[in-house]
Structure formats: structure tokens, C-alpha cells
Subunit: 455 residues, 2 copies
Amino acid sequence: MPLPTDDVVTALTEALPGRVESEATNIAEFTVDRSGHESAGLPLIAVYPESIEEVQTVCRIASETNTPIVTRGAGTGLAGGAVAGPGEIVLSLMRMNRILKISQDNRLAVVQPGILNGALNAALQEHGMWWAPDPASKDISTVGGNVAMNAGGLLCAKYGVTREAVLALKVVLGDGRLIEVGHRTVKGVTGYDLCALMIGSEGTLGVIVECTLKLQPLVVGETVTLGAYFERLEDAAAGAAAITRDGLVPAIMELVDLRTLEALDDFFGESISRGSDAYLLVQCDGPDSHATAARVAELLTMPGSIVETTTDPVESARLVNIRRNAFPALEAKGTLLIEDIAVPRDQTVAAFSAIREIEAKYDVIIATSCHAGDGNLHPTFVFQGEEVPVHIWEAASEVFALALKLGGTLSGEHGIGLLKRRWLKDELGQDQFDLQRQIKAVFDPQGLLNPGKVF
Amino acid sequence: MPLPTDDVVTALTEALPGRVESEATNIAEFTVDRSGHESAGLPLIAVYPESIEEVQTVCRIASETNTPIVTRGAGTGLAGGAVAGPGEIVLSLMRMNRILKISQDNRLAVVQPGILNGALNAALQEHGMWWAPDPASKDISTVGGNVAMNAGGLLCAKYGVTREAVLALKVVLGDGRLIEVGHRTVKGVTGYDLCALMIGSEGTLGVIVECTLKLQPLVVGETVTLGAYFERLEDAAAGAAAITRDGLVPAIMELVDLRTLEALDDFFGESISRGSDAYLLVQCDGPDSHATAARVAELLTMPGSIVETTTDPVESARLVNIRRNAFPALEAKGTLLIEDIAVPRDQTVAAFSAIREIEAKYDVIIATSCHAGDGNLHPTFVFQGEEVPVHIWEAASEVFALALKLGGTLSGEHGIGLLKRRWLKDELGQDQFDLQRQIKAVFDPQGLLNPGKVF
């Protein structure tokens, strides 16, 4: 049955004047995200609701006309999860970007989903608090997007993932009904944890329209930054493992491999790598930052390593930026397919070593940086041209199989979206895969919310 | 259709020799937990599987014969969630109590569900780690039970609830199939978070047969304990609020009211209360414990307050035991109905004050202690006799309505079980209640797992 697309566009336009956009030039951006994937064509229409009621109206019209909805934040996703195509409504939450409440007494904030993570944290700072989720995209990605993806980042080993930083959500279901899941309290055990279920569901279960966020007081103490250069990647990984085994909890622990260092040297036209094969960035915060940093330096000092420790902001920024510039430096070399596996921390070296073998086998370039505190690796394929070549997908497929073989996961923080659907069942197994699809059907029996994503 | 109960008992006995028990004197304990609720009669049989395969066998036989299963740990629940009655199989996991793996490199432990929380932590200590969930029952409750209830405790404001301390679970479904949910890695975003869904599901979605737990390194620094006595409860609550507002994060912050102090004075035959109307216990740990404690003392010092600060273990234990003896002291006064609401922290005083009004209205005794760091109150009804009198349920019902009115929840950490079913819909709303029941049906289409509980 063909969709009555004219009716949908008319109904949305009439119901929500000033909130719709269907000019091709203005909706073309919704056919892509930051994954490199592009949909088959333009979506039907984009709607920019400004209230929960308007989101409900969109969902009601979509439900009545059986029209798919792709909910969208800032479009910074790396897995194609927010890409929209023909016949689909784009539900942009970018105009719902207000902070509704900040409470120091309850250590929480209530926000609309379209606010940028960085903007929220700027506002929270004057209240002496922060929201811990720290994806690399934080200055350009929305809180709602972070929640929908269960975003990770650099700080997770110490400060947790997004799931641990959300208390409650208001969610509009596919048919327009509004539910509130979770609790405004720190504790709450009434029935199933639908709030946690919603976090990371990639727009497939409902539209997140309001977020009650768990905040933390600003970290006290002076931050100490260490940059360590190693002759061998194995030594850097062994150093990171020793830090974890010793019971230390740095805020940041990032490992950068030789391929990435080579790109950085070229990018800056100077020896960023200092001739080393691996670089480990460690940042220690909190009241014991100096004691922790001293012990970290001790553990990283070994034959062939150079360890720099600083509290100077400029020098610290230089050490941090070696890691932060990894992707810009690689982008200067070609198009990137940024992958996102996670393995148990003690399998990190095995993962790096197997990635080297896959690189040789497929004659590809894989530059890898790694959140060494939590075993989340970003093997990044560098290639020429727009489309991901078949042999790179084949190599990526081996990387995913490797992650599962080592007891890890297909995706640490980027999600499944479109790009990893074909491997999801390998990780979940048929039984869990079926359960997940049945849960999807409970929330969205018409199958209109972000169809074709995840499963 | 009557159940072929003889067939079930015969099938289980034949399939699992040495694992079953049906003598009345040996299964009578399963008709109660610590809630005071007693089921209508003896269950059919109790099974004590010793492996995952044996759990699967129990579930298969139950499924084939359409017989309900009540999964059971140590039976320390306070909401009737593990109480079994006529026609039901008790699936005791107490023999599955081994630690399968402890990894410092990955900061995780893999355990069977029947291990006691306290026993696990004793074993972890020599590896320099601990598992943070800290219910008051920790020495007598199982890890599996803690997970099934999403247990809380004293440390949650700083160290989180059980959900934040579980990485992955193996779960046997009602029909005997085994699934693995969650990730062994710190991060993982492949599909819906069924691990979080299982945590706190009170035995209604599956049987948790193996737990991969997220551990923390042992806390460094000297622990500082403060005991503060106040002329008015409002002052104690204001002190606790000031501590939170100031950005401090004590490990423990417990508020004890006048009714409880009176019971403690009687219990010990001396003036534990020192004539005060409220007592606040604060414990600061970690590298900044002394600085935090000094600031806490400053904030609690006000007209009419007495603040004691100590690092001496004996003196510290004395201050802690004032709180720890609250329930034993109250039990000496009569039978207890221990309730468990949570409210946003800034509503704590309002909650205490309204509880006083309910107490007067129904002419009952309600002694309340409160996890002041997270707004979780335990209004405890003290009465004579075994059965909870009707007017006490009526008063309790007003307490639950109060929690919802203040933006809080029916249950911070004890769960719904049997005792709070009738109020669950008030909190969730009809739409979410229906979604939760549909999720139950996805996992347990025959409705055999802990029937009649939660919903």
C-alpha cells in the first residue's frame, strides 16, 4: 500500500505551522550523519517541534498515516542511526534546547533533549556541578542524542557512561502517548527499569522529549597530565594495565598507536611522536591527583619510555591535543571509517596485535586509538574516495569478529545504527535478538520509529 | 485445568536426584521472607540446582507442566517477592554460591548468584577490590538477590546502586533457554540494555544464574566518622541538605528521628539520644576524607547541635551503631512494617513532617530513619501482633501517596514484591504499567516466573 505522502505533509503543515520544512536544500542534511553513510534520497519533510505537545502531534499524525519517523538531534552519530530517507518524517529536536531546572539540592538538571552537551556543562559550571558524559562530540552533540546512544567518551572508566548519569526521561511513544520513566530520586525500584531500556535505544522505542540528569559536584584538586612515549605499543599497553591493576583510577587514559602518530607527525610537520611507536595520555583529577600521578609516572617509567608530567595548562593542553588531533590528522590522509569495538581490558594487546594482522591481510591502513581505561578501541580505516570499499568492510567484519572472540562487543559507544546491523545477531545470539525485537514491537507495534535501524 | 502436581514432583525428583526437597518441615521456611508476609500454604517442592544446566532442567520441566517457579536466594526480602505458596516450585540458588573468577586487570568478578554479598567482599579484599552494593542485609543476602532487587543501602549517593555495579548476567528464561545479557567490557551499546532490565525485575523475567560484577579498587585514605545530635529534626535535615548543596559527597549520611532515638534509649537503657530529637551520622572516606569531614562539621555546627568527629575505630563503631541498631531497637517494641519511600532530597523535611501528621491521624507509631544522601526514607510502623492491622495499611497507603505527591517513588530499594502491588499503577500510570506487563509477557509468555509478584 503506497503511503498517502501528500496527506502527511499537508497534515503536518496544517497542524504545526512554522514548524515544518520540506525544501530540498533545507532537508538534504538529514540524509547523512557523520558516519559517511547517505540515505537513498530526501525525506518527506522535517518537523521542528518546540514542545512535548507538538512532538505528540507529530507522532499522532505519523501513526494515523503509518509514516516512519526518524528522530534527530545534531546528526553527529557515527553509525547512521539518524539518517533519514524517502517516505520518512525527520523529527528534529534542535529547537527543544532549553534548561528547565537546575537543582543543587537534588544534584539534578531537567533539560529538553536538543541542548548541546557542552552548552549544558557551561551553564552547570556556575552552579558548581557538571554532567559527566563526555563524548568527543560534546561541543556539537545534543544531550538527547547522548542519551539515545548511551554515549561514552574519555572519562567513562572513572565517571561512568551516560546510563549512569540519567535519572528519568519523558518519552513520547509512536502513537503520541507520553510516559515518564525512571525516578527523580537517586534510588527507585518500582517495576522494570524502562529508563535504562530507553537509554541507548537509538530512537527505536520512543522519542525522548525531556531528560532529568544526575549531576556531580565539580571535581576538586589540581589536574595533573602525563604524556608517555614508548618504543613498543606492548609497553604502553602494559603500562596502562599496570595502572588499572594497581587500583588507580585516572580520569583519562588514552593510547595512540604508531599509525596515528605517523599521521600526527605529517599533520603538524614536526615530530609529535618523538620517534616513539605508541603514546599514552593519562590525566589524574580529584583530591589525590598528585599522589595518583606520581604512582602513574612510576609505573610508566621503563626502558625506552619517556614520561612527562605537568600541571601547567599550556603544556597539559599540548599533551592532550596529541590525542584530540588524532582524527583530524587521519582525515588529512583520506576518508575514515571509524570503528568502535570494546574488549576486556586485559585483551587490549591481543586486540592491537590482531588488528595489525588484519591490516596486513587486507592491505589496508588501520590507525587505532584506544580508551585504555575501559578497553574501548577505535580502529580507524583510512581510504581514498567517498564510498567504503568492499575489502574494507571485509576487514572491518574481521575486526568485529575479533572483538567478540576476545569477549568484547561490536560497539563500545557509537551504537548499531545502520552500519553494524548485519553483525548484531552474532553478538546477541538468536534468542536475545528475538527478545529485543519483541520489545521493539511492544513499544512500537506499527514499526514506525527509526525503521531499519539497529535490527 | 488442575496442575498435574504429582507429575511435576516426580519429574523433578527423577531428573535432579539429590537436589529436591519436599518434606513439609524443610520447605516451610519458603512461605515467608523478612516482610512478615506468609503465603497461603506450602509450596510443591524445593529444588536446589548446582549448575546452570540444572536450572535449565527445572525451568524446562516447569514449562512443560505449566508450573510456577519462585526463584529464591537467602529470603531476606522485605516486600514478599520471594515468598512461595501452593502449587509453586521453589528454585533455591543457595547451592550455586561459588566465585568463578576475580580479575584485577578487568576489575570484575564472575560469581554464581547464591554467594553472600559479605562473603564475596571478604574474598575480594585480598585482591584490593570491593563490590559497592551495600544493603543492610549484606552479610545474609545473596548477590543474586541484590541484583534481582537492584539493592541499595547506605553508600548509594557516593557509590551508586546495584545496577551500576553489574556488567553482565547469564539468565535462564522460563522455558529453559539460556541468554547472556550485558557486556564484560566497561562500555557496550549493542541493542537494548536487557542487563539493566533484568536488574530489579524481582524474579519475574528470568532466573539469574551467573553475574559479572563491576568492582572498584579499595578506597584509600582514613575514614572519618561524625555523629551529630540536633534539637530539631529540621536542623538535622537542613545540615544534610547543606552538605549536598556544598558539593560534598560523604560515603554515608544517615538521619535518625526522635521515635527511633526513643526506642534506642529504651533498648540500651541509657541516653543514646543525649536528649536530642534527631541524629545525623556522616562518614567520609577517600583521599579527601579529612577535608570533607572538617567542612561537614562546620556545616553541622549550629545552635543546639552537638557534633562529634572521630577516626578512632571503637568510637566510630559506636556512632555508626546508633544507626545500625535502629531496627533491632524498634523490633523490641513490637512487630515492624518497614516502608521504603524515596523523595527528591529537597523534599526530605516535607516528608518527615507529613509522616508526623499521618502518625497522628491514624494514631500509629512511625519511626523513620533516612538515607539522607539520597532521600530514601524508611518509615517504620510499630504495632503489636503478627498481622499488619488494616489501619496501618491505610496509613502506609497515605505514606506512599505522599511519596508520589512529593515527586518521589513507592520504593527506593525494597522492591514491589507482593506488598506494594496495589500502588504500583499509581506511580507508573496505566500506559507504562501496560508496557511493563507486555515486557513481562515477552520474556515469560506462560506467566510462570514469580506469578502474582510486582504486577
